[in-house]
Amino acid sequence: MKITDTINSLQELNFDLKYEVKNNNELYVRIKADQIRKIVLICVELYKFNYICEFSIEGDKLSTEGEETTINCVFSNSKYGYYVICSYITQKNPIDLSDIIYQSRLFQREINKDYDYKVKEISGTGAYQVAVGPVHAGIIEPGHFRFSVMGEPIENLEIRLMYKYRGIEKQCMDINANSLNLMFERVSGESSVAYGEVYAILVEKILGAQITEEIKAFRIVLLELERMYNYLDDLGGIANDIGYSYVAKKFGYFSEIIHQLCERVSGSRFMRNAIVPLGINIDFNKQKKKDIIDTLKSIKTRVGSIIKMSVNAVSFLDRVEDTGMVSRIMAKKLCMTGVVARACNLKYDVRVAFPYELYKDIKKSINIETKGGVFERYKLKCRELKDAFNFIEKALTYISIDIKRDKQEICLKDGLEAIASVETVKGELVVYGLTGKDNKFDRIYFKTPSFTNWTGMSEAVLGEIIPDFPLINKSFNMSYSENDR
């Protein structure tokens, strides 16, 4: 149903609500606190919207007693590409929605600081616990895992994160909008470009600005380059955890080549400070274009042959097939996004549902796999990688002139809000921004893809043995940094 149908339908239901459409595809519904449960039930059961997130507008300032706070619940319609934001005012804690939406408890734990968190415990003969972390054995970020094991199979996995909580959302409120993209890029280093892009889209949405087609195409080139080195690292990581070191090292080598290409194009191996609102922060000329085409051409067939080599090895297939399965129903229940969800037969990709830049012309279909195991995630990452090669080729055909560095001063008006979303390497990233005084934001909220996908991993390991955990972990490859913020 389209956005107008939703409005008509909501009016027919005789609720005491105020609605407003902003930025073409955002429907803001203000409702009283006692009716929120009803409307959420209608959104989920009747309209079949996807639940995205829940957050308070005041953020961390909530702690003072008795003060009113506004809670926003965000839903999306992926078919017609719009968001529905149901907001209500409450004086105490947020209203419990966890019996309607399972994942709501994750977000409510963030809003409500004295949420009662219960750890699941397993008891009985042969039951024991294995604690891992926060300092891990490899070069990984910190996080604590607690496996409850009965004999061999894992019965429960408790993931304790937030070791890296730095308070980025709060810090964003003190930074001028002109240099806020630096902060955004450092939420997660692996997806720097995607975070830069989401900030650019957010500001462009608020200002209602349009950019030229060449810059749009160039942004796609950068986004897909980032996707490439991340997936190459992931594939290498999976091969490494199995012990197929030849393939692992080759993927690492290709990833290094892409990193160096990024360095030549933008001056930074992670292409930082390249995408800025209303423009682009680096020059692009024919030489660089030729460099990109030549480098990608030189490794394209090679990447294909290495992928083939890995999937033809029986010992490799033995480890990955039917390992770490997540069912489609569970993936839906846990609100998983990105490659991980698409491997479980969930057909959802932000690049298709909410097309940004030139993805409308370039990306036509969604890659999905059905079974939802490690091998499906591996295959899907290979396909996304192949797509990335094609998308860069296609996007480069849109660029026929040299692009000059163009960074404009931005000036934001007070009290405007917008929601922007981008498909990062990990999944769907949704950012809410509310502008304030002095060219700063009053509230920035990140719904990062890892935040919900981490719970998917504790589902995937159930019934597996602990030695398979690193493999499943690598096939998910979630970011601790963006989860903790």
Partner: protein, 240 residues
Amino acid sequence: MNNIFDRIKYGTETIKDPLKNNEFSYGKIVAREKACNNCRACINECAMDAIRINTNAFGEHIVSVDKKKCIYCRNCVNICPNSILKMTSDYKMAELELAGDKLREKVYSIFNRSLVLRVVDTGSCNACMSELSALQNTFYDISRFGINVAASPRHADGLVVTGAVTINMKEALEKTYHAIAEPKIVIAVGSCAYNGGIFKEGDGVYGVVKDILPVDLVIPGCPPSPQAIIFGLLKLMDKR
């Protein structure tokens, strides 16, 4: 079998000297002399507060950029109206922190031949972690210098810390440090580890590494490239 054919066909895919000059790398920001008119545009632009302008007795303004604080975003280079600031490709910026301390230098000589490290992330954006794992790919292949990453702090000679130290990670960092056998060294990788970087005013940030542990080596950059990290480690091992 396929591996062997592939190996024969493409040979060794590595480079002889990982420290070769890389003209595309970011590096030290230098200022042209006697040209600054003290407009302070760069100081206002800098998110890290890394730029200082000093005026000497002759009335000349001297711009200096603190390479350890800088996050190399190039905004100051781009905004300077007289294009005084210039970014070089000199990535060799790592510095020993306890320079002049003879006792420490003796300790470093123990690690001359090999160095086993333990990496702890205390609140970085994971770009530094990504670069540290890139050290092990066939391109840079850090084990050729005798440098390895250990799985346990008990087996390590030194601790590599990335990111500002968050309140939640402070205890884990201290425990890891105490688990390492003496003599031990601490290496801070990235501008966040040196002075908190962009996160230094964050809510959950406790402080920086040097407040908690004695830091021996600082490798600046955001994130430092694998070449810069190799240069820093070799400097410590007295091979460069």
